[in-house]
């Protein structure tokens, strides 16, 4: 089998071209149909189910929106401050939900390549980069506030 994008040879079971990275369209090995005029019709290529991809995108966005809608009021009102174990559990579930949402979005993009998934993955990546930069600034700021005791402030390596 050869890559549809660059023409490089592709081994059995490979999902992406090792040369250009393009996804391999798995075609069913159907026998070319010969019609009465003796011309060979190309084997049918199974189209990606874009609708399924969009549904996965929506599920991913719903997970993020619902979990954030729950965590933000809890965080702002600080109602869980007196119950640290519950607070930590909620935070862990929230982080797991966000990671799950990202995984679903990546699956949607890789398996179905719908337009919505392409747009949303860019937004997700930008959001993660902004979060990472904010985390760096926060950590550095917290550490600076601690002066020479920074290790006590932020450390458990």
């Amino acid at each position: 089998m050869f890559c549809n994008s660059c023409g490089s040879p592709i081994g059995d079971g490979q999902k992406f071209c090792a040369n250009c990275g393009a996804p391999v369209v798995q075609t069913h090995v159907a026998q070319p149909q010969v019609n009465v005029n003796n011309t060979v019709a190309p084997a049918p290529v199974k189209p990606r189910n874009k609708k399924k991809g969009n549904i996965l995108c929506l599920i991913s966005m719903a997970v993020i929106l619902v979990s954030t809608a729950i965590i933000v009021p809890l965080s702002v009102t600080r109602v869980l401050d007196d119950y640290p174990v519950v607070g930590i559990t909620v935070a862990m579930v929230y982080v797991a939900a966000i990671i799950a949402a990202y995984v679903i979005m990546v699956v949607s993009l890789v398996k179905y390549r719908s337009v919505l998934s392409k747009i949303m993955i860019v937004i997700y990546i930008v959001a993660l980069v902004i979060f990472f930069i904010a985390a760096v600034i926060f950590v550095m700021g917290a550490v600076m506030d601690c002066g020479n005791d920074f290790v006590n402030c932020l450390h458990n390596f």
Partner: protein, 240 residues
């Protein structure tokens, strides 16, 4: 020769932790490209693995103290998070899975070695009191003269990284490479705890038990990952 560490007005520890993440993931990317893994897989594997590493690193260190909830970074948590990230990614992409896993496991000692330089400059995780050659003196809250355990750890982990890198490039059976790296890193991490300032001379300390638990989680994760991939792909390994 003795070493005298000045008091810093900034945090070498935090800086080195972030640098270690960038260097480690950069090395993983280089290795994956060397193994001819597509850019798409490389990009999204790093994307998911960074998330899982950061999340597990913080969540594994959460503790409840009298002053409230304490959150920090845990190297062991980061290691487990990295494995989880690669685990999820390989299930999605299914492209040269053991090569992807090897690329990240090879990078782990590099990240740890670089981060330990931050510990050495900051004074945390220091060794027992010592005044012989290469002793290190701090003037911050860890004031005292100690065995340079963090520096020794850093050198050893960077050496392990060099060995792991060479093994990953030379040996075709990546499962064996992963097993060898685990077999080197875990005893080193366990033995180094004997030289830590808080070790009371007991046969096994609470921190060593945590190391053993993290090691067990890591090994179980890799075994479960392999079993799932074998079930999905129908073959035990993705070697050429």
């Amino acid at each position: 020769m003795q070493m005298d560490i000045p008091v810093f007005n900034w945090s070498p520890y935090a800086l080195m932790v972030f640098i270690s993440v960038f260097i480690g993931f950069g090395n993983a990317v280089l290795l994956m490209r060397r193994f001819k893994i597509s850019w798409q897989t490389v990009f999204f594997t790093c994307f998911l693995t960074v998330m899982c590493t950061m999340a597990c690193s913080c969540l594994a260190s959460v503790s409840i103290t009298k002053d409230g909830v304490r959150l920090s970074f845990s190297g062991l948590g980061a290691g487990v998070g990295m494995l989880i990230g690669v685990f999820i990614s390989t299930l999605i992409f299914n492209e040269r899975n053991e090569h992807v896993m090897t690329s990240f496991i090879v990078s782990a000692p590099l990240m740890y070695g670089v981060a330990k330089i931050g510990c050495f400059m900051g004074g945390c995780c220091h060794g027992k009191e010592y005044s012989g050659p290469m002793a290190v003196t701090y003037h911050n809250k860890y004031e005292g003269t100690y065995f340079p355990l963090q520096l020794a750890e850093s050198v050893i982990y960077l050496l392990i990284f060099v060995i792991s890198f060479l093994l990953a490039v030379k040996i075709r059976d990546k499962t064996r490479v992963i097993a060898i790296i685990f077999a080197i890193i875990l005893p080193v991490r366990f033995i180094s705890e004997y030289f830590r300032y808080y070790n009371k001379g007991t046969i096994i300390s609470p921190d060593q038990i945590i190391v053993l638990i993290a090691a067990a989680v890591a090994v179980i994760l890799v075994l479960v990952w392999r079993a799932i991939l074998t079930r999905i792909t129908g073959k035990p390994s993705d070697q050429e």
